[in-house]
Structures are given as C-alpha cells and as structure tokens.
C-alpha cells in the first residue's frame, strides 16, 4: 500500500478499542477539526479513524492556569508552552486494512504473491502500536474506503471538511435497506434528498416513488432563502420521471403534470380508513363497524356508506313514532347488528375525507395503475400533492398507494421465487416520504404500511427513504432498521439519540451531530457506509446537473424550452 502523502499530525499515545485512541497532537490545535478522517500505519495494518474529540491538556494544571506570555519573556513563554501544554485527539478507530510489509522489501513481494487480490477494509479488531504516527487521510485513503466516483453507482455526496477530498456513497448498497435523512429545518434535507435522488435516477438501479408533499421535488422551484431557481427532477430527467398531480386540474406554474391521480371510492379499504384513526379521531369501535360495512357491501362499502344519512328519521307507518329512515346509518346499523352511535360517529367523521377533490366515484383515468406500471417499468414517479397539502391528505394517499405497491411487489417477488426463469426479478423501489414522523410515529407505526416496509419489505425489493426534522418522533423500531442515515445539524438531545440509535460509537458521535454547520455539513453513518463520516455536502446547483448528466442535458427541460430551442418562442 502506498504511503499516505500527508505530514504526521501526531502520534498514538494511548487508548483502546472501546475507549477511543488518544493521539498526542504535534501541530497547532487549529489545524485539526472534530470529525477529521485520519489514518495510522502500524505493522502490517493501516487503521482508519475519526477524530471525535479534541482536548487541551497540561503537564501540570498550573501551567495551563497562568498565561505564560504575561509572566516570562516571549521566547521563554513559547518554549514553556510547547513543553507543558499539549492538545490531544480522541480518535474513534473504525476500520483497518492489511497493508503488508513495506513496499519494495523482499517480504512485500512474497506477501503480494500470497495476497494477489486487493485487501478489503474490515472493522477494527486490534490497535496501532504506541507512537504510531497519525496523518489526515489523503484522497487515496478516502477512495479506498468510500469508493471512487464513477458517475453512476458510486455517487459523490460531498467532500471532507479538512482537505476537500470526495466522499462517495454506493447507491446500490444505499437502496438495499431503508434510509433516512434528518436535520433541523433549513439544514438542507430536501436539497440533499433531491441530489441523492438525482443520483439514483441517473444510476438507474431502482425506481423511486416520491411523495412530494410540498411540491419541491418534481417541478422547478425557487429557493426560499437565496431566491434562485432550483431545478426539479422532472426537468432534469424529463421522460424518466413522471410528474403526477393529485386531483384533477393540478398544475405547477407553467408545468403541467404528466398525468393526474384520482382515487376511486372503490379503492378505499377499511384498512386505509383505520390508518387515519388518529387523524380522524376514530373511536375504538370503528374497526368493528368497518368490518361489517365491508361484509355487507363488498367492493363499494365506501360509496354505500357515504350515501347513508346520519339522524334521518321518518314517522313509522304503523305507530307514527319517528324511526330511522331507510337511507340512514341507524337503519343499516340496526339491521347489521352494529352499535348505532358508533356507526353514526364513523359516518360523521368520514365526512372529512368524503369531499376531498381527488376522491371520486369514477376516475377519468387510471392514475393509480399508471403509477404502479411506471414504477415497474423502471421509471420514477413524483406525486405532487398540489393544493391538497393537509396531513389528512398525506396520510390517506400515501398509505393507500403504498399498500397497493406492497401488494404488487410482494406478489411479484413470490412469482419470481416460484419460477425464476419465467418471471422477472422485481425492480427495486425506493419510496420517499417527507415529514416521515407523520406516518411513522409511535402511535401510527402499528397501523401504517410504512413501518412494515421499513421492517420487512427489503425482502420484497421495496425500501424507504424517510426525510424528517424530528427523528425522535419516529418509532424506534423503524429507526433502528435504517441502513444509511444522513443527518444535518440537530439540536435536540432526543433527536440526536434517535439518529444514533443502534450504532457503535454513539457517545463519540453525539457532539459532532450537534455542531454541524446548517446547509453545509452532514454526518453520514450506518450500515450503508463503511464508517461514520462528517462531510461538507455537495452543492445542488447547475454545476451538479452538468456534472451528473454531462454538458449535454438529457433532454430539453420542458415543452416550453423545447419549443424555444426549435425557435418557436411565443
């Protein structure tokens, strides 16, 4: 293995596998930052670690407690400080890799013969010796660990903070498990998610379904804090990405959606309604009522139920007493043997979704199937909620679609396992949800389809990319399943703990999360990355798109652009 070209910054002076390595710093303390990626060669190993703390230490506290320059001459003060005050680093050892004997030595040639293949980094199982020199990782070290940007699968997400070396993410690994992007508001989650999604779409290993609650992924938008235009995925990839508007008549400024999504009443299942229990404040009896409705009106329970009236009374022909009318909820409840008040309460509460503009009796087109077919065909779907941006809409629509997807992907996977020759392997799918805690909080997690996906859909080729400001609000069982976690700055203790849950080195990484620079820096960690690493996030701008797609953009951004290219300017 090549020598690292950087000068030594210090030497190993103590520590352990559990307790972090202690490194005596020999350069001015300001030259090293928390989170720096460092390497140490010792015997046949190269160790890779992360600076998790910097401490100012003194040979005797009294040397530190007095400003020597105020007491002695400058020459003496400088010498005294150098000899008695010293910064130390805490370095979390993360990986090690066999490097063999010194290159060029006879032993090296023999070793090479025994190990013709490239050696791979592995988790640390031993430690560097005392006094091993520690250096900042150079570009080669970083690409050894994180891979070398290849314009496709190995995707650059940012650079190291010290020396600006590229840090990459292997997208094929990234999509194998659910992932999360976290950070306080304005920390850059949506920008980062858009960028990674662009990478995913470009690399093409997986389809993506993006629930775009705030209309920021598909169409072009304007950055709220710089006022500059921000390119959406639709204009970046054109036909690869289907822009779907929820409800008829949704548009995004000048851009029309590729198609709209209307949901037929018949598509709503009792399960979908139960997933709204909290939002609609349903009673404990609602599941019973729903099950009777489905029994009595298979296939069109929702339509039938909505046609019933609450409190409609007519005079009884024989007695003249006022009794429930034939089209009343109470009437049905009586006949079905359901508690009347519970049925009426459910009917009243469902009134809130009855009039959502995208719920219709007979949709003009088959938007739901189109979404699934597009995803199966390897395209990407951005479902923009347009004006339907209430929490209720979000819950209802995301659950309903995702449940359909789960059914389809499960079926496909089973078919594939039954006969691998005849049936194709399912297309991996990443479902992207913003404000994920609304769908994955502790109370909801048992009800929504999303926690099922997070926990077990990996087997069925579906994973989640969840984006959220408050990771602590997300069900821990879901959090602990997340393979890759990318987090911007977080202030709240609970949020920080949630992001680190289930990972080694939590204590050391905690401080790092709290000190990330908003909009600029993120910490990437988890199963999907070889070791935790803080980085300066790549800028999502015109240059990004140029680098990704080459100077030739994939297709004209819009019909309007296309027309102006051809000289048809209105």
């Amino acid at each position: 293995m090549e020598m690292n070209a950087n000068p030594a910054i210090g030497f190993v002076s103590g520590g352990g596998l559990e307790a972090n390595l202690q490194v005596r710093l020999q350069v001015p303390v300001g030259e090293v930052q928390e989170g720096a990626f460092v390497v140490t060669d010792s015997e046949q190993w190269r160790f890779y670690g992360l600076v998790t703390d910097i401490q100012l230490q003194a040979l005797d506290e009294r040397y530190a407690g007095e400003v020597s320059a105020g007491r002695y001459t400058p020459a003496l003060a400088k010498l005294l400080d150098k000899a008695t005050l010293f910064p130390t680093l805490a370095v979390m050892p993360a990986l090690m890799m066999e490097r063999g004997p010194e290159p060029g030595s006879p032993e090296y040639a023999a070793w090479r013969e025994m190990n013709p293949d490239k050696t791979n980094p592995m988790p640390v199982k031993t430690l560097p010796q005392h006094h091993s020199l520690v250096r900042l990782a150079d570009a080669a070290d970083i690409s050894t660990i994180f891979g070398e940007e290849d314009g496709k699968n190995v995707f650059r997400v940012g650079e190291t903070r010290e020396q600006g070396h590229a840090i990459c993410l292997r997208l094929d690994k990234f999509v194998q498990r659910s992932a999360g992007i976290f950070g306080t508001t304005g920390s850059g989650k949506s920008f980062l998610a858009r960028m990674i999604l662009a990478g995913l779409i470009h690399a093409g290993q997986a389809s993506t379904l993006i629930f775009d609650m705030h209309n920021e992924y598909g169409p072009d938008t304007t950055s709220s804090d710089t006022g500059k235009g921000v390119r959406g995925l639709k204009s970046g990839f054109d036909s690869k990405v289907r822009l779907v508007g929820l409800g008829a008549g949704t548009s995004f400024g000048a851009r029309q959606p590729d198609f709209t999504l209307q949901i037929a009443h018949a598509d709503i299942t009792p399960e979908d309604v139960l997933q709204l229990s909290q939002a609609l404040n349903l009673t404990d009896n609602a599941p019973v009522v729903l099950s009777y409705l489905e029994r009595d009106f298979p296939g069109d329970w929702f339509t039938k139920f909505m046609a019933m009236k609450v409190g409609a009374l007519v005079p009884d022909e024989e007695t003249g007493k006022r009794v429930p009318a034939d089209d009343s909820v109470a009437k049905w409840a009586q006949s079905a043997g359901v508690h009347e008040k519970s049925a009426e309460s459910l009917r009243t509460k469902l009134g809130r979704i009855e009039n959502r503009g995208y719920l219709v009796d007979k949709p003009a087109s088959s938007g739901l199937d189109d979404i699934i077919n597009n995803l199966e065909a390897g395209r990407h779907v951005v479902l923009s909620f347009g004006r339907f941006d209430s929490e209720l809409d979000y819950l209802l629509v995301t659950n309903l679609i995702t449940r359909k997807i789960r059914d389809r992907w499960e079926w496909r996977t089973n078919e594939f396992h039954k006969d691998r020759l005849k049936n194709p392997e399912p297309r991996p799918l990443v479902v992207v949800v913003e404000e994920a805690h609304k769908l994955l909080n502790r109370e909801m997690a048992s009800q929504t389809i999303f926690s099922t996906i997070a926990r077990e859909m990996r087997k069925y080729y579906v994973t989640l990319l969840i984006i959220d400001q408050r990771p602590s609000q997300i069900y821990d069982e879901v959090m602990s399943q997340l393979g890759t976690r990318i987090s911007g700055a977080l202030g709240d203790e609970d949020d920080i703990n949630a992001v680190l849950s289930g990972l080694p080195g939590r204590g050391s990484l905690r401080g790092m999360l709290a000190k990330l620079q908003p909009k600029e820096e993120v910490l990437m960690l988890g199963w999907g990355v070889p070791m935790p690493i803080p980085l300066r996030s790549r800028r999502y701008d015109d240059k990004f798109w140029q680098d990704l797609l080459g100077s030739r953009t994939e297709a004209p951004a819009s019909i309007a652009d296309h027309n102006s290219l051809l000289g048809y300017d209105e």
């Binding site: 009294r62 040397y63 007491r71 001459t73 010498l79 000899a83």
Partner: protein, 208 residues
Amino acid sequence: MPQEAPIVGHLLRASAAGFTVGTRAEALEALNQPLLGCLCQVEAQGQTIYGLIADIRVLDDGLVQQLVAEGRMGSETLADNRYNRNQPVEISVITLGFAQDGRMRPRLPGTPPLALQALRLCTPEEGLRFCEENKFAYLRRILNQTEYPAQEMILAHADQLQSWQPAGNKAGSWYPSLAEALIRVLRNDYERLSLLLDALSALEESWK
C-alpha cells in the same frame, strides 16, 4: 588548545564529579572578571575536561582571625595581607563533560584531572562549542546537585554566554537551546521551574 586562555589556578584535589583548584587572592584580582558560573577546562590524559565554577572560597588562618578579632584593618594591613602573604583561595568546579578526539561529550570523564594541572577559563569559541554540541544536556548535572546554588550558577553561566555575543546583540542562538534544556529537566517541578524562568526572564531583559 588555545594558549592565551587565562589560568585560574592549579588543581588541589579532584573526584570524578568535580575538583578544587587553589590560587592566590592577588591572581584572582588580576583576572578581573566574575568567576562564578564561568566555563573552564583542564587537561587530563588526552582529554580536556570541562566544568563550571561553582564556588569560590577565601580561606582563613590564625593570623586573619587574630587581625579581625583585634580590629586591625587599616589599609596597610589589608594590602600586606593580600600581596605579601600566601593566603589561599579555593575554587570549586563541577565537572560537566569532556572532549576527546575532537568531540564534545556531556558525561563525566573516565579519570579526574590530576593535582597541579592548570585550570583555565574557556575561550568564547571553545565554550560555545561545548554548550552547543552538547545541546546543554549537562545542565541536568547542575540542576540535580544540591551542594551549590544551581539557579545562580545557571544564571551566571547564561550571562557569561551572553557576554560573548557582540555588544548590543540580543540573546544568542544558543539561548532557546539552553531554555529548552532547562524546561526539559524541570518541567515536572512547576515551582522550581517557574522561579528559574522568572529569574531568566529578568536576565534576558537586562541584555536589551
């Protein structure tokens, strides 16, 4: 060995760690310079032994005691006592190192110098060479002994080195090296080191 180096005295007795020379009060006056902390050297069986003057003792005898007791200290008596009598002065030297085959070493020599050898003051050139080649490692010997006032010897030693700088110059290039050696030896003794650095700071200021 530069012959012009002035002789301080001749060896009375010696051990591996140090030795004592004797001279006459009159001869000391002729040297016309402070002696405490001065670098000096003596030849011994092919080696040049280097040391630092640690103490100067003017000895008494029955006559002096009698003169003092009687209060007879007129200027004539003083002059007579100084020039006509052979009343000895003893100078103690701590051995710091030696030179052999042209190389300076900060260790004790294998054999001490022999009686009646001449002790000479070092010339500036030789003195600086001894200090710098040894990187002041010999200061440890001065600091670790308790018989003589270590701090005073070191300050005097530094002052002698500075007196060899061309006039008006600030501290010579040897100075950081000396300070470093002091700090290295004493850094675990905060109190002693800070007192020494206080004094050294004051000395350094006085050179400006």
